[in-house]
Amino acid sequence: MRTILSISKREITRLRTRFSGRSRLIVLAVVALTIISSYVIYHQDLVISKGLYTVGVTPDGPPVADQRFSVVKVERQAGYDLLRQGAIDLYLDGEEIVSRGDDRSQYAAGALQKSMAKQDLIRISNEYEVDRAFPLRVEVSYLKLLGNDGATETALTDTGALTGREEILSEAQPPAAAGAEEPAVTSMTTPSAAIAEMPGEGSPEQAPSAGSETDDVVRRQLAAFADSNQLPEFKAEFVSENEVIIPSLMQPPVPLAQIIITFLYVVPVFFVSLFFTSGFTEEKINRKLIVLLSAPVTRLQVILGKMLPYFAYSVVIIIAITLALGGDLLLGVAIFVPVMLFIFSIYLMVALTYRTFKDQTFFSVLALSVVTVYLVGPAMFVGVNDLSYISPLTLAVEMYRGESFSVGEYFLAETPLLLIFGQSLFVGTRVLNEEYLMGFKPLPTKVAQALYFIIDRNHLSTSVFFLSLFMVPVVFMVQLSSIALISNLPALFTLWFLVVISVVVEELAKSAGIIILLRHGIVKSWPDILKLSLLSALGFLIGEKLLLYLALSVLSESVFISAIFGSGLLVMPLILHMVTTFLVCLITARLGIRYFPLAVLVGTVIHTMYNLLVIGAVA
């Protein structure tokens, strides 16, 4: 521990000397400027699509408050002429929206109609009493179905899948101490019981004061509605079973919260990662790292020591942001620390593998975007699809909404991240040597070299087994990220591509270790290949099943899950994994490394056919 601390201290000293003298002043000034300006910007109304449309309005026409529209006051005749010439997108003639037939004018008309209707809602809410202006209140209750398949039900513990709208609806909760004459909304277990208690005597005639409880709901929703130009609040309070909905005040939830949370937490870490990777590379180039390695310190201590200052900074950031957003401190740390560790593990690999700055910049940016996709992508579907629990961000969103999540959900989201961090540390300690650091080779060679260092030549079988086992989280992540890329394709091909990509990644992962051994001539005979293939397949299968077990404890069965994991059987998949791995390795051994892609292709075809059969059988 002391060694780690002293290495950390050395790293901090390095940074401090970097930022000394005049440059420190400049950097501090820039940082201060940034903080001040972000504060100012934060207090502005953020309007996306500002001034996107141009609309002409009659001089006495209604005001258009929506900033998406640039407004031109123009007399009727001239207005119609401008519209015909295409100089404006729309003409608002009194209360009539006049548009052209082209797409742009039609989109503008759709937008203006929505926006004006919203303005008009506020008008009628001012002109009429609440009961007349908002006459429909929908009380929602959720009931369990009888004798549904228990498997999916027990897996779900959410409080309400309408999460998106709960931010609005939570404000619509009836107060805890409800009026004595209003039993209708509060405790309702079955709908028939509720109907017996339907208001009637609670209607405004008998309760002339601002009586009806749903009236309060309307007022509260109206208030929220009126200033909904603000960014959506994601700090919702308690959400209960019963919700009252006013149809015209329902607002589609913008999944902005997910994106904002991610950027708040991830962007500051991006800054430190820059110092982390730069520091590593610099010491790699000026050979200080090699000197350090010759000192009586372990490689793990070197890595941890160099990482510690930045990690500490990240934790401080997590704590600060969680406190600033009013989240649960412990939960915030528990959710985001693994995310940070995951980011660090990516940057560690980048720093170890790349020697030029340009490469590092690109891999860092690529890593940042992959991480963002991985976090935000699934979390977009909070409450819509259980697959959203793949992302730790889903947990964060639920935390900020004051909802709970189960331990299983926590582990599903976080375990792969932690495993990858652990593995990257392991890989780091294996490749932290002069030969690897100073080599200047293309990426595939670097990966092959790293794998060669990872495998312990005295314990070949064990190494291959664990290599495959620990490949599983990496494979899982690659497969998930591929979903993001596939989403660009037409829906028809999505599943096909997912199956094929999943299989290719799996085949690569299982055979990589053995191929390296073949290349270095450590393994030659086919019985050895067979034995190692079996071990590799076994390791991979065990990893896969463990992950599946974890996933099934949270997710309900879906086609995507079966596409990624195959079926729940045991013996058949083992044989399949073994056969394909063996084939890939054997073909490569016989034909040479140049034919490795062909070998993977053969393995992929067989594996894909099997998977499609299984999916077909399941479906």
């Binding site: 953020l46 996107l52 004006m116 009961d131 209140r137 009931l143 369990k144 730069s278």
Partner: protein
């Protein structure tokens, strides 16, 4: 000139060799995919009709209401399957048996207000979809009740086309794709300059018969050239996806002007700090500030690109011209001070 071309070639070769451009495109592809995921997410919430069109969602609603209530008709218009029930307990029984997906109970209307009950399945991811499909019929019913109450809501008829996708494409995706290459160009300039500084290859270059200005201009030109290629590529790719960038010449011009300005700025930053670590850090925070600050411009660069690309009739060449001012200023500053900065010690 020949020397400059030779230097430019050297820069471009290094960018190609390190597959920089390939990575750049990969990054942007990811960003685009990411945005399209957001789009799918937004679409699902804003535009329930897209759900029912794209997937065979078959939602059955049990309705308990008085005869003559228009709600069942509104629901049928919204592509829902409606079964009427005479009383709540029967509807509830059908719901519990899974014969209907949702139950709506409309009480006999004795006053202005209708307190409707809506029963949805607990523990079912589909309830969001059900909800979204009920949205439009419920709004129509609400307006019907308003009219009964003598309240006229204007602009209630839906007119025009659903605009969310259109707005998102032109005000988020297109500007991101047009400006992202510029951000990367800034990083490229810092990396190439600081790499030569730190590896001391710069000294070797200085002994060659080339001027300092030529060396730097070649670096900046190479970075800007990658931007030109990427921006043109994106305009083409978007076109293939039937998203037309209108005013393409102005959009590309603006993107390249911004990229060149950024490259000059990063050139100055890199020459001042001389190491990648500080330069990239300062660049990142300056960038964050600049992006935020640009929001106060009207239109902001981001908004200008989006309005140009969407074909806003109120926007023309005159809006692009002012961007030449920072470009020229930064270019002059860079050329004037680069020599001094190189030899200054910091």
């Amino acid at each position: 000139m020949n020397q400059y071309l030779a230097l430019l070639k050297r820069e471009l070769r290094s960018i190609l060799k390190e597959k920089t451009i390939v990575f750049a495109i990969m990054v942007q592809f990811f960003v685009a995919s990411f945005s399209s995921i957001i789009l799918v997410g937004i679409m699902a919430f804003y535009d329930p009709s897209s759900i029912s069109e794209n997937s065979q969602v078959n939602v059955r609603v049990g309705v308990v209401s008085e005869t003559g209530n228009p709600l069942p008709d509104y629901l049928r218009d919204g592509n829902l399957r409606v079964s009427s029930f005479s009383d709540a307990s029967r509807a509830e029984a059908a719901f519990l048996l899974g014969q209907v997906d949702a139950v709506m109970i409309v009480p006999e209307n004795r006053s202005d207000v209708v307190d409707m009950k809506l029963i949805l399945p607990e523990l079912d991811a589909r309830k969001t979809v059900i909800f979204m499909m009920l949205d439009e019929p419920l709004k129509r019913y609400e307006n019907h009740l308003r009219q009964v109450n003598g309240v006229q809501l204007n602009y209630a008829d839906s007119g025009g086309k659903p605009h969310t996708t259109y707005e998102f494409l032109y005000s988020v995706i297109v500007p991101i794709l047009m400006l992202f290459p510029a951000l990367i160009a800034g990083s490229i300039v810092i990396d190439t300059v600081s790499e030569e500084m730190e590896n001391k290859t710069f000294d070797t270059l200085m002994s060659a018969p080339v001027s300092l200005g030529q060396v730097f201009m070649s670096k900046i030109s190479a970075a800007v050239l990658t931007v030109v290629i990427q921006v043109i590529m994106w305009v083409g790719l978007l076109r293939l996806n039937s998203i037309t960038v209108l005013n393409p010449a102005l959009v590309i011009l603006l993107a390249v002007i911004i990229a060149t300005t950024i490259s000059f700025v990063t050139g100055i930053i890199a020459l001042y700090f001389k190491d990648r670590e500080r330069a990239q850090f300062v660049y990142s925070i300056v960038l964050v500030t600049a992006v935020g600050g640009s929001y106060f411009l009207d239109p902001s660069p981001f908004g200008l690109i989006s309005r140009l690309a969407a074909g806003d009739p109120g926007i023309n060449m005159l809006y692009v011209v002012p961007y030449l001012v920072p470009l020229v200023t930064m270019g002059v500053l860079f050329l004037r001070f680069s020599r001094r900065l190189v030899f200054a010690r910091n």
